[in-house]
C-alpha cells in the first residue's frame, strides 16, 4: 500500500510519542507528508466547576491564565514535531482543535485525504495524565481511514 499522507493524533504522552516514532518512520519510508492533529480536551470548558464566590475579574483572569497555559503547551508540542519533521525532510502540517479526541479525529479524517491514521494506544490504568481517553469504539465505528494503533511503551 502506497502512503502519501499520514494523519497523526499526538499530544506528547508516552503512548503518543511511540505513535510519532512510527509515523516518522513510515513517512520517511514512503515519502509521505505528515498531518499532525493536536486535540485540547473539552473538559476544560467545565473546569470553573461550581465556583460562585469569585467576582468576574478573578474568573476572567483564571480563564485567560488557563487558556495561555494550554496555548503554550500546544505551541511547544507543535514546534517539537515541526522541527523533527524538518530535520527528516518530511512535509508537515499541524491542526489544533478543542473537543473530544475521537470526534475531532473522525472529523479531521473526513475532511482530508489521508491514507493512514496513526494513534498511540490508551495508557495503562493508574498512569498519570488527563482523563481524556480516545473513545476507541466511536473511532472504529466511524473512521473512514485505515487505523494503526501503536502499543503503549509500558505494555
Amino acid at each position: 500500500m502506497k502512503l502519501n499522507k499520514i494523519i497523526l493524533a499526538s499530544h506528547a504522552t508516552p503512548g503518543a510519542c511511540a505513535a510519532e516514532e512510527t509515523a516518522f518512520k513510515l513517512c520517511s519510508k514512503n515519502g509521505a507528508s505528515l498531518y499532525h492533529l493536536l486535540v485540547v480536551p473539552d473538559f476544560w470548558k467545565g473546569m470553573m466547576g461550581d465556583d460562585w464566590l469569585n467576582n468576574a475579574v478573578s474568573q476572567i483572569r483564571f480563564g485567560n491564565y488557563v487558556e495561555n497555559q494550554l496555548v503554550q503547551e500546544a505551541a511547544t508540542e507543535l514546534e517539537r514535531l515541526s522541527k523533527r519533521a524538518k530535520q527528516k525532510g518530511i512535509p508537515y502540517k499541524d491542526d489544533v482543535r478543542l473537543g473530544k479526541p475521537a470526534e475531532c479525529l473522525i472529523d479531521a479524517c473526513n475532511n482530508g485525504t489521508f491514507d493512514l491514521c496513526i494513534i498511540g494506544s490508551t495508557r495503562p490504568k493508574g498512569t498519570e495524565g488527563y482523563r481524556s481517553r480516545m473513545d476507541m469504539k466511536a473511532l472504529t465505528q466511524s473512521l473512514t481511514v485505515p487505523l494503526l494503533v501503536i502499543p503503549h511503551p509500558d505494555r
Binding site: 465556583d51 474568573q59 488557563v66
Partner: protein, 520 residues
C-alpha cells in the same frame, strides 16, 4: 456578537409555568397535590407560576419573533432563557419530585429511629435539584439557548447570602462570628500548612502545592480559581486539583447529612461542621439545606462559616503569592502587589450581607416590639387565647406527658389559656416537636406558641425568598459540575487531598461534638 437565540424554548417554559399556576389555582391538580402532600407549595405554584410564566411568555415571544441586535438589551435578555430553565427544573423538583421521593420513602417505613430514608440521606429539593443539574449537564448537555443564563445561578446564591443578613441578631452574629473565626482560622491555616508540608515530603512542585493548599484549605474550586494564576499552576495541576475537590465536595454533600443524623447533631453543630469540613462552599449550603430542609437555622450557621472562609480567601491568596515568590523567585515570578490582591479578591457581596444585617438591626423588617411583652401582656386579643374546647383537648391528653418540666408548662398553659414565660414557651415547643400528643393537640400547642412568638411577616418573606434563591442557585451550580472535570481527579493532589480532607472533616467533627453546644 448577538447572544439571543431564535428558539421557542423560553416561550414554552413560560406557558408551562402559567399552566402549572392555573391548574394549582383552579384545583385541577388537587388530587396530585394531595397525593404528594404538597399543599404548602400551592401558593408558590400560583404566585411564581403566573409571575415567571408571564416573564417567560413575554421575553420568549421577543426571543422568537423579535429583532435582535448587538447590545446590552440583547445580552441581558438572552440570559432570561437560562435563568427560567434553572428555575423550572428547581421548582419541578421542589413542588413535585422531592415530595414524590418523600412519599416513596415514607411508604418504606422508618429506617433509623423515627426517620425515613429520604430524611437520613437528606434527599430533599436542594440535593435532588443539584443532582438534576448534574444529570442534565452530563447526560443531555445544557442547551445552547440556556448557556448564557445558567451563570445567573451565581447571582442567585450571592443574593441569597445577602438576604440572609436580615435573619441574624447581633448576639447570634457575634457568637457565630467568634466561633467561625476560631474554627475556620484553625482549620484553614492548618490544612493549608498540612498540604504544603505533605507536598514537600512527597516532592510535588511548589505551584501544585500552592494551588492544592488553597483549594483544600479555604473554599474549594473558588480558591483554586483565585490562586492558580498567582502561584503559576500548570494546566495538569489545576485539572487534578479541581477534579479532586469536586469529587470530594459532591461526596461530602451526601455523606455529611447521614453522619449528622447518625450522631444526632444539632443544627448549630451540623452547620458548624459542614462550614468547616466541606471543602467546596456551594456544597456547604447544599449539605446544610439537606440536613434541615424545612428550616433555615442550619443554613444560617453554615453560611456564617462560609462568609468567614471567603474573607480568609484574599489573605490566603496573598500568603501563597508571597510564599511562592520566596520559594520560586526567578525572572518568571512577578512581584506581589498586596493591595491589588486584597482589593481584587475581596468578596463584595459580603458588604451586601452586612448592609442587610444593619438594616434589619434598625427594626425596618421587624418592629422592635414585635417579640416583646407577649408573655406578660394582659391585653392579648381573645382570638389569640386558646378556646375552651382546645383547653379540654389538652386537659384530656395531659396524662400522656411524662416529663415534669413539660407537664408544669402545660398545666400553666391550660390555666392561663396562653404561654406565660419564655421558659414555658421552650417547653411547649419541645412538647409539640416530640409529638407525644395527638395531631389535634399538637396543633393547639403550636397555635399557643404562635400567639406569643412568631416570625414577622417581612422576615417570613425573606426566609421564603432565601430558600428559593438557594434552590435556584444550587440547581444552576449543579448544571456546571461535569463528570469529565471530576474525572480529572488524580495524581498527588488526590492522595494529599484525600489525607488532608479526611483529617479536616474528622478533626472538625471531634472538636464540634466536644465543644460546640446547641445554644449560641
Amino acid at each position: 456578537m448577538v447572544y439571543t437565540k431564535k428558539h421557542p424554548a423560553l416561550l414554552i417554559m413560560g406557558i408551562i409555568f402559567v399552566a402549572i399556576a392555573y391548574m394549582a389555582d383552579s384545583g385541577s391538580m388537587a388530587g396530585l397535590i394531595k397525593f404528594l402532600h404538597a399543599k404548602k407549595y400551592v401558593a408558590e405554584m400560583v404566585g411564581m407560576g403566573y409571575a415567571f410564566g408571564a416573564i417567560g411568555v413575554v421575553v420568549g415571544a421577543w426571543h422568537m419573533w423579535g429583532t435582535h441586535t448587538e447590545g446590552n438589551m440583547d445580552y441581558y435578555l438572552s440570559s432570561i432563557a437560562g435563568a427560567i430553565f434553572i428555575l423550572l427544573v428547581a421548582m419541578i423538583v421542589r413542588w413535585y419530585l422531592a415530595p414524590w421521593v418523600a412519599v416513596l420513602s415514607k411508604s418504606m417505613g422508618p429506617v433509623m429511629g423515627a426517620k425515613y430514608l429520604h430524611q437520613v440521606l437528606g434527599l430533599n429539593y436542594v440535593v435532588i435539584g443539584i443532582l438534576a443539574g448534574i444529570i442534565i449537564v452530563n447526560v443531555f448537555r445544557i442547551p445552547e439557548w440556556a448557556e448564557n443564563g445558567v451563570r445567573l445561578s451565581r447571582l442567585g446564591l450571592k443574593t441569597g447570602v445577602i438576604l440572609l443578613g436580615t435573619l441574624y441578631s447581633l448576639a447570634e452574629l457575634q457568637s457565630l462570628g467568634k466561633l467561625s473565626a476560631i474554627m475556620v482560622g484553625f482549620f484553614v491555616l492548618g490544612s493549608v500548612g498540612m498540604v504544603l508540608w505533605l507536598g514537600r515530603r512527597r516532592n510535588i512542585p511548589n505551584s501544585m502545592g500552592g494551588v492544592l493548599s488553597a483549594g483544600m484549605g479555604v473554599c474549594g474550586v473558588s480558591a483554586t480559581v483565585a490562586s492558580a494564576p498567582v502561584v503559576q499552576a500548570k494546566a495538569v495541576e489545576i485539572a487534578y486539583t479541581i477534579g479532586t475537590i469536586l469529587i470530594w465536595g459532591v461526596g461530602c454533600m451526601f455523606l455529611f447529612p447521614v453522619v449528622g443524623h447518625v450522631l444526632e447533631l444539632g443544627h448549630i453543630q451540623f452547620g458548624a461542621w459542614a462550614g468547616t469540613g466541606i471543602l467546596n462552599s456551594a456544597q456547604v449550603a447544599g449539605a446544610a439545606l439537606a440536613y434541615q430542609p424545612d428550616g433555615i437555622e442550619t443554613l444560617k450557621v453554615a453560611e456564617i462559616f462560609n462568609i468567614t472562609r471567603v474573607l480568609f480567601l484574599p489573605i490566603i491568596v496573598m500568603w501563597l503569592a508571597v510564599w511562592y515568590v520566596k520559594h520560586e523567585g526567578n525572572e518568571n515570578t512577578a512581584k506581589v502587589n498586596v493591595g491589588a490582591v486584597i482589593f481584587e479578591k475581596f468578596p463584595v457581596f459580603v458588604l451586601g450581607f452586612i448592609l442587610m444585617f444593619a438594616l434589619s438591626s434598625t427594626g425596618v423588617f421587624a418592629p422592635a416590639n414585635h417579640y416583646k411583652g407577649k408573655f406578660f401582656d394582659n391585653n392579648v386579643k381573645a382570638s389569640k387565647l386558646l378556646k375552651d374546647e382546645q383547653i379540654a383537648l389538652l386537659t384530656a391528653e395531659a396524662p400522656k406527658v411524662q416529663r415534669d418540666d413539660r407537664k408544669a408548662a402545660l398545666d400553666r398553659l391550660i390555666q392561663n389559656k396562653k404561654i406565660m414565660s419564655l421558659k414555658d414557651d421552650a417547653q411547649i415547643r419541645g412538647l409539640a416537636n416530640a409529638k407525644v400528643m395527638s395531631k389535634g393537640a399538637t396543633k393547639v400547642l403550636k397555635k399557643a406558641h404562635k400567639a406569643v412568638r412568631h416570625t414577622a411577616k417581612k422576615i417570613k418573606k425573606f426566609r421564603q425568598w432565601i430558600t428559593l434563591l438557594f434552590a435556584f442557585g444550587l440547581t444552576g451550580l449543579g448544571m456546571q459540575i461535569t463528570i469529565s472535570a471530576m474525572k480529572q481527579a488524580g495524581g498527588q493532589p488526590l492522595v494529599i487531598g484525600g489525607i488532608v480532607g479526611t483529617v479536616k472533616a474528622v478533626a472538625s467533627l471531634i472538636v464540634i461534638v466536644l465543644f460546640v453546644r446547641e445554644v449560641i
